[in-house]
């Protein structure tokens, strides 16, 4: 089934805007953050207009409504990733906080000097820096699954690394630069055979692919609402129940406790143990609405549509002299095309495209080591989501020709 893109675009109010007079928005930056459908904006709107109250301990009508909405959203998110139970879904601010939560709690409780953590060369800074910090603090060791010239993970090298008995394998499900969709189930199976716990950075996969945490057998999985049609300010960490239960709490404060004395406390049960203080309530409601929206479109349809556009985009981009697209071929790849244009800096490319309303990102996309690996300081990146069209790819390509002309 192919998506009715016209209908879908009409769900997103931002597409009514022009970036400057008469210039419509061509938004090709969903990998950084997605746009939001009206249903999500309105869900939060209604929350603030009708049900806003602090949650959990309130007896009054508003507090009960707010609590019910907040927890119903958690159920929706749990179903969306096929978590066995909603209490295994912890609300965080974003993928970054989800990963840090694991680094501060599970990792600090379980890793000691010399213990090996395996990452990959294509990680986002969010899945590098928390481990750098732990390395500096604890003396853990880090090693990296190499990325091949074509932008895939080198699984043979991974097999070799596993012989060193890592305690944790933490990797991105989909690269935000190369677009590579990594074989997560296989990476996890191999890690488990070697006795390691796994963390999946699913910031780019949950928004774009049907992700089933039980089929993957993931131990931890982190993602952000803002990349999947949801609001900023909220993300999630999924974890296996026995791991989450065994972990010490992260932030201390209201709601994460069962009982507080002047000099001690007892932690609450899941998921509250990891949610200290007044949470992002309206944002949880919006997150739930986003998941409803994506589920109504159907994740398989979303993936198929993106695949279709990406194939077309790669074809068109590669025909432009001087353009080099990074990453694997379309079949291993999500809706991301990071490229360089010979003789023109990515910032100039992005800025000139912007004058035609075309929003692409330029820079290292929070993946500096990966850019270093490919010997470039920066790329321009176009990325696609359910609301993008082939016509927009054509506009991008025309825009790049204009850039070439200007710098020719």
């Amino acid at each position: 089934m192919s998506l009715d893109i016209k209908a879908i675009r009409s769900h997103f109010p931002i597409f009514q805007r022009e970036t400057s007079d008469g210039v419509p928005l061509v938004y090709l930056d969903s990998t950084a953050t997605s746009q939001k459908p009206l249903a999500v904006i309105e869900a939060m709107n209604n929350y603030y207009r009708r049900s806003n109250a602090n949650i959990h301990r309130g007896v009054h009508t508003l507090a009960e409504e707010a609590t019910a909405l907040y927890e119903a959203a958690r159920e929706k998110i749990a179903r969306f990733i096929n978590a066995p139970s909603a209490r295994q879904v912890i609300y965080t601010r974003n993928t970054t906080e989800s990963i840090n939560l694991v680094a501060y709690t599970w990792a600090r409780a379980n890793l000691k000097a010399g213990d090996l953590v395996i990452l990959t060369e294509m990680e986002h800074h969010s899945n590098l820096v928390p481990w750098h910090m732990l390395q500096a603090e604890r003396g853990i060791e880090l090693d990296f699954i190499p990325v091949t010239e074509t932008g895939l993970l080198d699984l043979d090298a991974y097999q070799t690394l596993l012989a060193r008995s890592p305690k944790l394998v933490s990797f991105t499900h989909m690269s935000n630069v190369l677009g590579t969709i990594n074989p997560a189930a296989e990476i996890i199976r191999m890690a488990h055979e070697a006795g390691a716990v796994t963390l999946v950075d699913a910031a780019q996969s949950v928004p774009h692919l049907a992700v089933d945490v039980q089929a993957l057998d993931a131990d931890f999985l982190a993602f952000s609402a803002h990349k999947m049609c949801g609001p900023t300010g909220i993300g999630a960490l999924y974890g296996k129940a026995e791991l989450l239960e065994s972990m010490p709490p992260f932030l201390g404060g209201g709601d994460m406790i069962k009982e507080v004395k002047l000099r001690s406390f007892r932690a609450n049960s899941l998921p509250h143990k990891f949610e200290a203080g007044t949470p992002a309530i309206a944002e949880a409601v919006g997150f739930g609405a986003a998941v409803d929206y994506l589920a109504s479109v159907g994740m398989d349809n979303v993936t198929a549509h993106e695949q279709d556009i990406t194939e077309y985009a790669l074809e068109r981009l590669e025909e432009i002299p001087g353009v080099k697209v990074f990453g694997p071929s379309a079949q291993h790849k999500g809706g991301v095309a990071a490229f360089t244009l010979e003789g023109v800096h990515p910032h100039d490319v992005a800025q000139i495209l912007d004058k035609d309303g075309i929003a692409v990102r330029a820079g290292h996309h929070c993946a500096q080591p990966l850019h270093e690996k490919f010997g470039i300081p920066a790329t321009s990146r176009a990325s696609f989501y359910l609301y993008n069209t082939k016509e927009e790819v054509d506009l991008l390509v025309n825009g790049i020709y204009k850039v070439k002309e200007l710098f020719g």
């Binding site: 959990h56 301990r57 309130g58 007896v59 609590t67 009982e259 049960s269």
Partner: protein
């Protein structure tokens, strides 16, 4: 005044029929609701045929928690233990004759949680007993 505080609840709260302590008893269990400090403890005597001979609760807390406990004790007397083990959330709501939000539900279910932990001979009362 309104169905939440039906007369029966206020009545059972103010004049409980089954508040007290049985000695000797076959079952004793106690727990509290950490959210509001409600406390319930129960003592139960059991007949040879595995039915409830007598039952009492003691404790303090809100009208909902105390009235539920009183209604529950009244209800189980004479019932087979096997039947007591099957009691759930809906049974309590039926006894109270009202609907409750999630916070007050915890108050209403405290006595059932304590009762079930007691009859199952558990070390700890868990929320999953009453779901």
């Amino acid at each position: 005044m309104d169905d939440l505080y039906r007369e029966v609840i206020i009545e059972h709260y103010k004049n409980p029929g089954y508040r007290g302590h049985l000695d000797p008893h076959n079952i004793f269990f106690a727990d509290n609701n950490p959210l509001c400090g409600d406390h319930i403890e129960i003592t139960i005597q059991i007949n040879e045929d595995e039915t409830v001979k007598d039952a009492r609760f003691d404790g303090h807390g809100c009208a909902i928690s105390q009235a539920s406990a009183d209604l529950l004790m009244e209800f189980i007397i004479g019932k087979p233990i096997e039947e007591v083990k099957q009691l759930n959330k809906q049974d309590i709501l039926d006894m109270l004759g009202i609907d409750l939000g999630p916070v007050r539900l915890k108050c209403a279910l405290l006595s059932l949680k304590v009762l079930k932990a007691g009859v199952y001979g558990l070390g700890e009362a868990s929320d999953s007993l009453v779901e």
